[in-house]
Symmetry: D3
Subunit: 240 residues, 6 copies
């Protein structure tokens, strides 16, 4: 059940049955020469769809632009400052809490969002904590790529070639839903370097084609289907 | 050409041909008993797709959550504060400007965004103006529902029943692309009241089912197709 | 009745009779070679004075500095950022609401303020809307230059020579109250260009002497008197 | 020479002769049963006018709303938060600095503004200091009521009856320019208490009629003329 | 070498030899019935002292107040909002970067700071990334309690009794330097519950005496000495 | 009694006896060729310790980084922006107020903090004032160097050589507690210039070695002991 494709009376009814909503959150950033710029937003959307097939769940709108400052030296990347994203998450949470949602499950597709979204949760809870009242809210951040099943599967499929950005796992997951996302580009070097994340120009110097330790070309539709299945199961577990 | 479904080298190439990007911006808010909560985000997405069919154009990610504070008394509505949305728009613009985009065309589906997005443009330009340097940026806000052709067509199709929120025009436009959005609900009164927009509880008292002066049930797929055609033509005109 | 020239017990009494206050808001910005930099603040002050002559009304202090980032390339212009002006308006509204004012009528003299002041209203209302409580506030923005009577009169007096900045209407209105504001300067070209508003340097390139489409020299004291009369009537209508 | 009643080419000429501008800054707040709510804004305006009579000086628009949170329990008082006023001052300074002004002399009429305006100056200078560049700006805050001559004169005229809010000095100064500001109200107690300044309700409990240690009724037009003369001389000294 | 106990010419000399500074960052929050409220600030100070004994290193002032919103229901806890702490870290980093420091090593004592400090780093880097320039800065966050040696040792010493707040490890570390910090209080239950971290009242309900899964009473001076040694070695490794 | 070296149940007990806390606040900034960079933070810590010896008092954590933008041209100086420090003080005050503290006594060691901390108090009180409720809080700022006894003693000991930055008084006070802070450096000129405080580069040009009008070398341990005694007595008086 998608919030965007529901009416308000339908949400009113839903709230009588459940106080939970899943909000996909991603990023709009380069994913190497073969990965889609929307990868990190598309992946949690795909996983959320899978979750909703298995359980009655409300899926909110995808927050497609995240914290991607380190990718800004690659054309097409868009970033919010952390201080902006904190405000976005706080406003979204406050909107939903006002309707009676008690569990807001951010299904995240981007490592760069993690710290900022957690800081946003604390920013929200701090209001209650300073005011000495209950928030009544269970805010969760689940990173689909860090679930137990997904971890095991990506190690099985890609081993050390998984890397940490533009990974064959996330690209496979996109391929499983978007046929048009397939690209064939020769990648050099085969296994690009890893390294620390700092500012955007430093990032591009360290990772000239955008990949971090990942052999993106190992991605496939078939792998994507298995990863999706694992990610859905992980996310449903985390949801509780 | 969608940014989310492109790679960064493809955007690098695009920038050699064009400096323009279309960014759909909408809202997540109640649209009466029959309208989708995502209406205002879906409409500019649909129009942007139509534009891209007629001209080579890059379409950015949809900013699905807008300024909808007055709808917060209806379940499912999500809003950013104006001060938050200003920061979002500024960060998005600054990200794109850094890549060399010179024309950023916000294709807007929500009246409540207009003032805030214009203020955001001024906030961005003010940086250059205070610093006494050129911004080099053409920022445009185009409201698909205010184009010349759309206005003429909606008057022809719906006359005074168009209203100003949950309009048959916008609902038709959604229907033209989302079959699953059709709802059959008896609406009372037939033509709901109009009125000023203030806070959310005031809004709900004035507009108990969420509609403002609109007979939403006049919407149809066929109307939606004609409206889409008009909106695409209007938007391409505005783009220049 | 002017707030600045009243005592607090007098305001306490006024509040027993009325819950309404008029707040003139303007800008400090170039108005071409013959227009006063204070034009946009002086005009609503003049109109507010006229309103107070016809009806018992409390007039607040003029907010003389507005959002004028696009004029900063002309000496003497002063601007607040939109994000600053939003905070100013919110603090002023919150101060007045706390005293029991229920209708705050911003009488505006500057087109560049419109979007930001409307965003500020939404920022204020959003507090109530997020908190699920009533604001009880009627915030109005009335642009004296967009009233029905003023529009008809300026078309009659100046036709297409009215333009949109440093207009003969606004300069006439200032002249009607400030004899010392008369300037005789040869203006070239007679009818300057119109165009989009972006950053300050772009603005100055498009409008080298500051005027937008306006033949400022058509202004006169006599026209100003008639415009004032029309503006007062329009504003009283809008006040309701 | 008033900025509001000048054209931009006139300011351009002025800047060839001088890099100095005087900006009156005040407050809109209760001044006891006989003092005008605008006292703190009117006083620096009156003094600035006197300064401009004696020396060629540009006078900017009056910032009439200041930091008056502690007066908000009295009807008619309007306050900006300190964080808002800091932004206002920074934006005004940045606007003026961009035109080439090098000495910005804030002529202040309100004790409650002092800390915040000084913090605003530091906020502005911090930009240069963090960026390791020169600001080139001399920002001055002069409180007309703390000048040497004014202090001597108010002690001579009023001694311990001067107090610290709604003082006979400031009320006299207003009377010297605004005949309509005279009020005759019996004041009890004759000499009200002094005390610390905290929040607004605490303030009203300590100072039930708004006066702090001041016998406002000692004010007179004649005293106001002498105080004005002293204040103008003090301010011109401080200007250097 | 401590910044607080150095002169500026000494820092000028140091910068000719090294571009690195260690900044201890902690929190002021309850640590159960026996742990000091300053534990999280004292621990990184102690470790930093140990580092400076082994290598020439500049130690900055301790940032003693961190992000501890979830502890605010226990008397004495002090917290910054995440949005405040981000600004603090950014200002500190910008101050140091301006002097030529290139490696700023935040030695952290509090799990609750991690997300916010990482978000602050991204906020700082984002400035360079948006402006398309190099930051030249290596910002590191090292959590002394997560080093390899410390982890091994605490497992050896305390096993599952380590828990995650008011741990015997951190309390031991404080004891190793502050004899006056020893407290003997009977703790019930012996091993308190773990659980998610949300707002402050929720936290106190879950953890009535403040401990999370930790048997604080296992702490001792002797354990503290060994932990300090391990933590110093871990931190020097991380420093590189 | 130090907050950092107490447990939460001890603070709970303290709050039954007293509602007062002393919070030392300082700065991290150059203090000339012989003064410690931590002088302004160490001094209030030393004075607070002296206070706690004479009366049962809770001493909070030292806020060591203050508003020192004008010192940033000297290596090692660290500053918060005024807008940042305001937020820090507000969050600290709000944390403490929530526990029931009613008197928060900021014991300040740095002139540059004064305006900003006062603005922060007003920012905090403004929340109550706008909301029309009591804050119940007594916030005090006491500058140890401006007490009556300290002023008399420093005039006696140093006369005009006291100056205003890197003063022999503050350096003596540090020496009284930190033997390792003694430095012997030839200072030229003997009595450096005084002057206005603007941005950091301006400051360094006016005060090449960092001292303002102060003969720092007159400091001694013995003077420091007497100054400490005076400062403690002044502070206890101010505390009431
Ligand atoms: Ni990714
Ligand atoms: Ni709509
Ligand atoms: Ni105008
Ligand atoms: Ni006053
Ligand atoms: Ni801890
Ligand atoms: Ni000092």
């Amino acid at each position: 059940m998608k919030l965007q494709l529901s009416t308000w009376p339908e949400i009113e009814s839903y709230l009588e049955r459940s106080r939970c909503i899943v909000v996909p959150i991603g990023s709009t950033e380069q994913h190497g020469p073969t990965g889609m710029i929307g990868t990190d937003a598309l992946c949690p959307e795909i996983v959320a769809d899978g979750m909703a097939e298995q359980r009655e769940l409300l899926i909110g709108p995808t927050l497609s632009v995240g914290m991607a400052q380190h990718h800004l030296a690659f054309p097409g990347s868009i970033s919010l400052r952390p201080s902006t994203l904190i405000r976005v998450v706080v406003d979204v949470v406050e909107s939903l809490a006002g309707h009676g949602f008690e569990q807001i499950f951010f299904l995240n597709g981007h490592g760069g969002n993690i710290a900022t979204v957690q800081a946003a949760f604390a920013e929200f809870w701090a209001r209650s904590s300073f005011a000495r009242r209950d928030s009544g809210l269970n805010l969760q951040l689940h990173n689909w790529f860090q679930g137990r099943r997904v971890g095991r599967l990506s190690r099985e499929l890609f081993g050390d070639d998984e890397g940490s950005h533009a990974t064959p796992s996330e690209i496979s997951l996109v391929l499983s839903a978007y046929a048009e996302a397939a690209r064939t580009v020769a990648l050099q070097p085969e296994r690009p370097p890893s390294g620390p994340i700092r500012d955007a120009r430093d990032f591009r110097r360290r990772h000239p084609d955008g990949r971090m330790g990942a052999r993106s070309e190992l991605a496939s539709v078939e792998h994507g289907r298995r990863i999706c299945e694992a990610a859905v199961a992980d996310a449903l577990d985390a949801l509780g």
